[in-house]
Amino acid sequence: MDSRSTTNSAEPLALSRRSFLRSSALFGAGAVALAASLKPLLSLKDGPSMEQFLQKYYKELTPEEMQKVLERISREVEKEYGKRPHLRDLKPMDGVDFAYFLNLSRCVGCRKCVHACVKENNQSRSPEIQYIRVLKMPHGTFDVEKSEHNYNPDLVPEKGYFYMPVQCQQCKNPPCVKVCPVHATWQEPDGITVIDYDWCIGCRYCMAACPYGARHFNFTKPGIPADRLNTEMSYLGNRPRKKGVTEKCHFCVQRTRDGLYPACVEVCPAGARKFGNVLDHESEVYKILTTKRVFIQLKEELGTNPRFFYYFDV
């Protein structure tokens, strides 16, 4: 002990003026380099606010806390787009299990649903995010490898092909929910798989897990012109997303949980899209399920058990 304390007390003497200056110069340079490397953080605009950073998990929020969160988001949207949104947190209804039916004999491949969806759900226009992808398929196969989604003829439908729009299939056994490491996506009692955009960490595991390519990632801040913003919003639905989160079709929760048809059903000029509560025996989806014959759950063999059915009729 004694010898060590002696060496310690002797050490300052070993530090010469030159080496002190040299090491302080180096240390100073390092500190300035660190400060310079952190400088871009000062100009960071799309980072989370303290309020958002400290926000609790969606399912743990009390109604009062939810109200505060909605108020914060409304404020942020108003600041960004100059419009006060009508933002709600719509909860699933009791005794409702949504089902979606798409009549492949009727679809003409006009892609109106794609753009109605973009308009309704405040998707990024540039870069482009679209929840619906219409596949042009040759007759006689369901092999999506043979499909073409960049088709752009003068007139549709083309002879020898049918059109299969693919969007989130709202699986009863969703692989995307299983892989999410932070539980930012889950299935609600009415069957809709939703995402909490404030909880998503952007790891994109769900995108890798989804066999339908239904999930999309915001690589940049979504480009939505202010005059195109749909102000009828829902927390788990179409409120503007931020950079670095995934998003997908949510059966227009801001519409369907308010009793309305989804935007794609409203716009389909061929009446190919049918939506409703499959538990209600008077609904059109129940009647289709019980009276029509051919049903396809896309990639049925994967066991995802979609709520989205394709069917044919005459």
Binding site: H115, R133, N152, P225, G259, G271
Partner: protein, 220 residues
């Protein structure tokens, strides 16, 4: 001595690197994000974004107080005189010039070429289903159903045709907002096959379509 020189050399190299890094970060030499290519917007008034049906039915026109003159047959026709149909030598109906907007294309092989299969020859403002009951123009769905029974059944159950409004139309409050579109909202009764149309533009993928056919400055 060799150690001292070596140490000095290492320190100088480290110093130069530090200065270089300071300059680099300060002037943001390698952090510049390349600008995102602006994609064109779809015109807000475009037909693509409208939820209107392909056609307007008589009932729609009455509701909207639109132009229904074309349904008032007796402004031109004589009430007491029966209109005879004219056929050419191939037994095809000759559509008179006054009705040139009517394209006869109902049924295959030109077999449905008699106006009075659907119109009442004794009262032109009425429709003529197969069972003989008179129908007005706004009841055309029943006329279509008198031949297309299974389709009418599907339409009534909601599995054929366009619906609009509320998915839960059992609830009394929702009933006024629920609309089931008529056959003639989508099908032209004289040529019911669905017309072909121009599709909306294809998607612009991040990687697959690097050069879209449209210019980049149409952002508004």
């Amino acid at each position: 001595m060799g150690d001292k020189v070596k140490k000095r050399a290492v320190l100088s190299v480290l110093f130069v690197i530090a200065v270089f890094l300071i300059g680099g970060f300060w002037f943001n030499l390698w952090g510049k994000v390349s600008p995102v290519r602006q994609l064109p917007l779809i015109d807000a008034d475009s037909e693509l974004l409208k939820t209107d049906t392909w056609r307007k039915s008589y009932a729609d026109l009455v509701r909207e107080k639109g132009d229904i003159d074309v349904f008032d047959c007796y402004t031109c026709h004589d009430k007491d005189k029966k209109q005879e149909l004219k056929y050419d030598k191939d037994n095809q109906l000759v559509v008179p010039e006054e009705h040139s907007d009517v394209v006869m294309g109902h049924g295959t092989h030109g077999r449905n070429n008699n106006c009075y299969n659907c119109h009442n020859d004794e009262n032109l403002t009425q429709l003529q289903p197969r069972d003989g009951r008179p129908l007005k123009f706004d009841q055309s769905t029943q006329l279509c159903g008198s031949c297309h029974g299974p389709t009418l059944r599907d339409w009534e159950s909601g599995s054929h045709g366009r619906t609009s409004g509320h998915w839960d139309h059992k609830i009394e409050d929702n009933k006024p907002n629920f609309v089931k579109k008529d056959c003639v909202n989508c099908h032209d009764p004289h040529k019911p096959k669905f017309p072909k149309r121009k599709p909306a533009p294809p998607p612009n993928h991040l990687r697959e379509n690097p050069q879209p056919s449209v210019q980049s400055d149409t952002e508004n």
